[in-house]
Subunit: 149 residues, 2 copies
DNA sequence: ATGCGATTTAGAATTATTCTAAATCTTGAC
DNA sequence: GTCAAGATTTAGAATAATTCTAAATCGCAT
């Protein structure tokens, strides 16, 4: 069970593929085997906020012919269609997150773990002045520090 | 004139180097020629949020022997000593920002321009729940969308 | 002035991401 | 079901960003 798009929603287990398919189609994407696998990997590993490379390696165990370029293609498509978020925490590889709720990411400077913090960050309520004329479509809030460890 | 560290502070023009030196020393760093140049370039180009490469090219006009590795070294030192912030907006190169006030970054998806938005994003006030046990030392707020253009 | 540790350097190495052009799918029309 | 058109996937090369290395140089306390 996981919170996606504001409601509590069933995250389908690996064998129940129809669910992921439906979401991909609903988002306006063609449901290809590769997108199914990439999105599936992300849903199964949401906590880890995996990198493209980690997703690639995991995806290969399910679909050995998949290529790195395809993983990037799929991720870009999923991001563009709001099924997945990019997370840019440091100079290292971009991470991906299928949790589309409003939340912040916390990176532990000690252990490198990424943790989700719940909360709302509507540009207005969060205390930022958005100058008139600017249309904000996406918001990303990142924090660093030390986790209990 | 620019707002740094919560107070309005004089940003020294290019020829007045003593100022930048003092800040570097105050921050607990050895004032080397390279750090002076790198920090100077950043202060002069704060609005552009330049990448390491852009800083390198500009720095070379002032100190032709400087190397890319040094630019990275200097930037890392400045970041670690809280004179400069890293900004991670997308999968492209990391950008750097000498404005240490609390503010958000806005990336225009059309023109690619980066703009500073003023405001406070104390983890608490901004509406995020920081679980107990987590020590937050840094906060980064990024937005995307369309700017007036 | 001297010595020690910090910093800088060029260039190689590594890592992340994008590009390319051909092969293969997905879909909608028939 | 078949077919064409356009979207997607593929391997591998290419590019871009960042880190590493080991030797030379610098800054600072003495």
């Amino acid at each position: 069970m996981s919170d996606v798009k504001g409601r509590t929603v069933f995250v389908p287990p690996r064998r129940m593929r129809t669910e992921t398919d439906e979401r991909i189609v609903e988002a306006g994407l063609r449901p290809t085997a590769q997108r199914r696998v990439v999105y599936g990997v992300l849903l199964d590993h949401a906590k880890e906020h995996p990198t493209a490379d980690e997703i690639f390696m995991q995806a290969k165990t399910e679909k050995p012919e998949i290529s790195m370029a395809t993983v990037y293609n799929c991720l870009d498509a999923l991001v563009k269609h709001h099924l997945v978020k990019q997370v840019h925490l440091d100079r290292a590889a971009t991470r991906y997150c299928p949790n589309m709720d409003e939340h912040a990411h916390f990176l532990c400077e000690e252990c490198g773990e990424v943790t989700d913090f719940d909360g709302t960050a509507k540009p207005r309520t969060s205390g930022f002045r958005v100058p008139r004329g600017f249309q904000v479509t996406q918001t990303e809030m990142n924090m660093r520090g030390i986790c209990p460890a």
